[in-house]
């Protein structure tokens, strides 16, 4: 949709007046950014390989690794600051920045040995600083994903791995909605929320699957996975409630039906790992106009249901009943929402006619 058409819509809504200001060329579409990220990653591996050949002892110990990483990161940040929209320059800078951060992460891990908990915490804190410091959008998404990964690793070491999903949910939802405040918030939080969203989709099911595996890592016993499941259910209902509030629904019946449906879905989705996380990503991404992330949430939800099918934790009969119940509830919720919303629409247009 062109800038002129969009401006006209805002004029009609009474939000702006007069001529639209000049606009710069829009940033890249998400799939071009993803492509750029893949190319930058490949190039970062090449940069690290080249560095390790040039400086044979570059990665021998923690200190030299940190020094080399800092140098690569400084080059990358300097190039990115001067990119000014030039794609080749920006990707070159991104490659050096990624290579530098990978080397710094390796250096921190070596310096912290054998304290892996400290390593995860320090790398996560470093990536959080980089998330804010380097303003390039693809870098911010990757840095947020790295923060999510470090959080996952830290929780695995500390014990409550099951809390990875609830905590990442808070980060994703908070970032996605914070991005809608103004341009400055959008520049920081929209790419960050993409990274947190991908982390949530990856780690919510993994945290559940790894629940038994933590014993192999000699880590403290995990908190009950039921605690995490309850927290995710609460998070799902809270997200639906907040969505109803954001939409400023005039008819409270729609809100009531939506909340009852959310409670029913949360209760029924309990045995399916990662499903509620995928649904949260899908709903919040749709609300904030992110079709790719919405699709990723839908695909992950389908994948989690597929995993549920192949797991041997429950009988086929229990699965059949659970899926049928969820299916009937979903169709009931959809039909009820449609009926209530159309009744509400009818009442509103009736009121406008009389007015």
């Amino acid at each position: 949709m062109s800038a002129a058409v969009t401006w006209e819509k805002l004029v009609t809504a009474g939000i702006v007046r007069g001529e639209s200001p000049a606009t710069t060329a829009p940033p890249m579409a998400w799939y071009l950014r993803a492509l750029a990220a893949v190319a930058a990653w490949i190039a970062a591996i090449c940069v690290l390989s080249s560095t390790s050949i040039l400086f044979v002892r570059a990665f021998d110990n923690a200190v030299t690794t940190l020094v080399v990483g800092a140098a690569l990161l400084a080059i990358g940040a300097w190039v990115l600051a001067r990119a000014k929209g030039r794609v080749f320059v920006a990707q070159f800078g991104l490659a050096f920045a990624i290579a530098g951060e990978a080397a710094i992460g390796l250096g921190i891990a070596r310096a912290s040995e054998p304290n892996h908990t400290l390593a995860w915490a320090l790398i996560g804190a470093f990536e959080a600083i980089m998330l804010v410091a380097i303003a390039e959008r693809t870098h911010r998404a990757l840095a947020a994903l790295a923060v999510g990964m470090c959080g996952f690793g830290l929780l695995a070491r500390l014990g409550p791995l099951s809390l990875a999903a609830p905590l990442t949910t808070i980060a994703f939802v908070g970032a996605a909605w914070a991005a809608t405040r103004d341009a400055r918030s959008d520049a920081l939080w929209r790419p960050a929320s993409a990274g947190f969203g991908v982390a949530l989709l990856a780690f919510a099911p993994l945290a559940d699957l790894a629940h038994d595996a933590v014993r192999w890592w000699h880590a403290p016993p995990d908190t009950s996975s039921r605690v995490a499941a309850v927290l995710m259910a609460i998070a799902f209902v809270a997200v639906v409630a907040l969505l109803c509030r954001r939409l400023a629904l005039a008819d409270s019946r729609v809100t009531r039906v939506a909340l009852l449906g959310a409670i029913a879905i949360a209760a029924l989705a309990y045995p399916v790992p990662g499903l509620l996380a995928a649904l949260i990503v899908m709903l919040v991404a749709f609300d904030t106009g992110r079709p790719a992330l919405t699709g990723l949430g839908i695909a992950t939800a389908i994948g989690m249901l597929g995993y549920y099918y192949f797991s041997l934790a429950t009988t086929l009969f229990a699965k059949s009943v659970s899926l049928a119940a969820v299916g009937i509830v979903l169709m009931g919720v959809g039909a009820a929402l449609r009926r209530v919303a159309r009744a509400s629409e009818g009442q509103a247009s009736e009121a406008r006619r009389h007015a």
Binding site: L10, V16, P291, L323, G334
Partner: protein, 321 residues
């Protein structure tokens, strides 16, 4: 939608849209969905997911009661599900969300019925025959129903049937040892071509952008695997796959740049070029000249990606103006 978000944020940065008005501006511009769009989304989601879950629940129920149920009961259950789903589709109409969801559920249940036939009567049918029969059975519904999800299901089943055929007859060794891979490329490239023809004929179901993107991604994945195989496989027939990959790229450029513009499909092609080029350069240059080689490979990969992105951005701007 992301374009509208960027515009509103640019206007906010320029001071034309006040900070307090940004959320309203995002909804008014269509960047964020309003109540009507939410309702359509929830309707599509709940009815679509609900019907698929019911179809899958039926499959689980049958599997659970497998040994206890007599053959008559098994067939009656599955066939009743198909009849109910088709009746629901006819009642609500295939153009409605509910009707389309019911038709998809019927198509999935047809696969379950064929599996039941194969297992109950021990016909000796192979897996590929099951998938081929499933594809043929749902083809009339797909043609008449005119729904993009049905075409996606048909494509998935055809892919499974062709790969199962090669697995059964050991014909993976055909065509120089790469018969299965050739089939993957041809089926998915053919699907993309047919989808585009359907769009040109202005058939409604082929205007679904999300489905075109799935077909393009599947075609891109198959072609990229072919390109990679051409580089890493030492068999004499491997270069032919490289030629197939190049022809696929030429087809993408012709269909989605010369005939009409679709930046996403072109981006799939560019992604394939980046991956194959990285592998080719890595294989031939990585160890050629000390520390310079990896840097050169990295620079070339970025150059290809960046150059391609610049071209695609220009193409997108031309298409919008």
């Amino acid at each position: 939608m992301s374009e509208e978000i960027d515009l509103v944020m640019q206007w906010n940065a320029a001071g034309a849209v006040a900070r307090d008005d940004v959320p309203r501006a995002l909804r008014a511009s269509g960047a964020h969905p309003d109540g009507a769009r939410w309702l359509r989304f929830v309707e599509w989601l709940t009815l679509g997911a609900g019907s698929v879950l019911l179809a899958v629940a039926l499959v689980f129920f049958i599997a659970y009661n497998w040994h206890a149920m007599p053959n008559v009961a098994r067939f009656a259950l599955v066939e009743a599900a198909i009849v109910v789903a088709v009746a629901a589709c006819l009642w609500r109409g295939p153009d409605s969300t509910a009707g389309a969801a019911a038709l998809c559920a019927a198509a999935i249940a047809t696969g379950a019925l064929l599996a039941l036939v194969g297992q109950t009567y021990q016909t000796g049918a192979d897996t590929y025959e099951l998938f081929a029969a499933w594809a043929l059975a749902i083809l009339p519904w797909t043609l008449l129903g005119r729904q993009a999800p049905l075409w996606m299901l048909l494509l998935a089943v055809v892919n499974l049937a062709s790969q199962a055929w090669f697995a059964r007859w050991g014909m993976a060794s055909a065509v120089g040892g790469q018969g299965a891979l050739w089939t993957l490329v041809l089926v998915n490239a053919g699907a993309l071509a047919l989808w585009e023809i359907g769009r040109r004929l202005d058939l409604r179901e082929f205007h679904a952008d999300w489905a075109l993107r799935i077909v393009a991604a599947a075609s891109g994945l198959a072609a990229t695997i072919a390109g990679i195989d051409a580089i890493v496989d030492s068999r004499t027939a491997a270069p032919a796959l490289g030629i197939a990959w190049l022809l696929w790229l030429a087809g993408i450029w012709y269909g989605f740049r010369m005939r009409r513009v679709d930046v996403f499909v072109l981006a799939v092609g560019l992604g394939s070029v980046v991956v194959v080029a990285a592998l080719f350069l890595g294989k031939h240059l990585f160890s050629a000249a000390g520390f310079v080689s990896p840097l050169l490979v990295g620079a070339l990969v970025i150059g290809i990606a960046a150059g391609g992105i610049v071209v695609l951005k220009r193409v997108a701007q031309e298409a919008h103006s």
